[in-house]
Symmetry: C2
Subunit: 227 residues, 2 copies
Amino acid sequence: MRPHSLADHPLCDAPPLATEFPVDRAPAGRRLGVVTSVPRGRALFWQGEHQGHNIEVLQGVIRAVRLLENGNRQVLAFFWPGDIVRPSQASCQHFTAEAVTPCRVVKYDPAEGVCTLTDPCGAHQVLKELLSLVVTIGQNNSIGRVASLLLQIRSHLPSDPRRPNALQLLLPRADMADHIGTSLETVCRALAEFKARRLIELPTRKTIRFLDLKGLSQLAAGCGACD
Amino acid sequence: MRPHSLADHPLCDAPPLATEFPVDRAPAGRRLGVVTSVPRGRALFWQGEHQGHNIEVLQGVIRAVRLLENGNRQVLAFFWPGDIVRPSQASCQHFTAEAVTPCRVVKYDPAEGVCTLTDPCGAHQVLKELLSLVVTIGQNNSIGRVASLLLQIRSHLPSDPRRPNALQLLLPRADMADHIGTSLETVCRALAEFKARRLIELPTRKTIRFLDLKGLSQLAAGCGACD
DNA sequence: CGTGCCATTGAGTCAATTCAACTTAAGTGG
DNA sequence: CCACTTAAGTTGAATTGACTCAATGGCACG
């Protein structure tokens, strides 16, 4: 069914967490941990391993991935700058966290930081995202799924300094596909379709310009809910 | 896309919560509320309305439904006897809770009972279920989705007194379909397929006998995770 | 004993996947 | 800095699978 196996991700077997950097800066009111740089593709922690730390994303994008027996993967969520990855939130059923792009993160010891499960905000956020993902996948065809995904990630995308009104589309097609349960090619075709309908522009492959948000959301069932 | 609209559910517009019954009995160690009978199809509370109560299911099955602008619905979860429905857990994005079968429930005032968001167990359970639903929908074709659903609900189904080793399949086909994001007919065909492969038996439409659990789980990707 | 709801089955259509070829961009080393 | 190598994205064609629509069958309820 799903295509992109583990073997597609060469950096996957690199050891978790690399160079430790000195403390840099931190969001106001939060206890500081250690700032770390994570190269693209590197795992922060592995599905199944007991991991106590909470990790705040400073720069870049992290993906939460569930690896399956058949080698396929389901991208459960993306974490953007300001988000906090809480490993044990997924309970008995862990997930692997990997850097989609080069990242900078801060580790928090949950004992001294925001605490995993009892933190209402964190639980809220993940629940909200999973709910809208279920609706996105359950209610939409491929066009609708991609439209819904674009609308959801839009607010997190940094602007492209070179091109006015354009955003950096940080996610590769495969990650989008594995998130919304379609194939990579189908994502491509959906994007091409949106371009043809003048809902978006794609100045480069990794750059997107939104032309018609209302038009996009009309293609995505449940997007009154997701935004 | 999805078929079964609100209009398909005639009891849907009945007012929430009916007859109040005197307190009956309660699980050990929990503060008692008021035991209520809920007829099939009746809503316990509505998506969007602010609802403070937690509701424990004593008998029957409750479904959590997200209603969409286009009239379709996504069944987010089922609640079985022993489960506690926490309305505000779904956060800003509420859901409607309806009785799949005639139910008996107990309302808890969250102030004096188990409390919604800060309760780790509750958050855990819903998160776990949503995660496995995402995998079920995202990774499986229709056969796999139905197989996965059957395996997930199996442990909750009461046995059929008339037929040995048979369980009461409490969910109508439409509810199964709207949960796993397929059509009602596709659920039927999947069940027929399982019957033909001698993985299950269907003595009646609402009765199921599991013959080959391993066979079923081999059809469902991600079921190493979901069970 | 009807009547209506739910479930099942069939046929045709359309959409998404798969497989494959090709294009473009990115990265690497001379 | 350019040529080369590899990864990522795009497009096409064929196939399969799921949906829709429709007709029929069975069960529960009044």
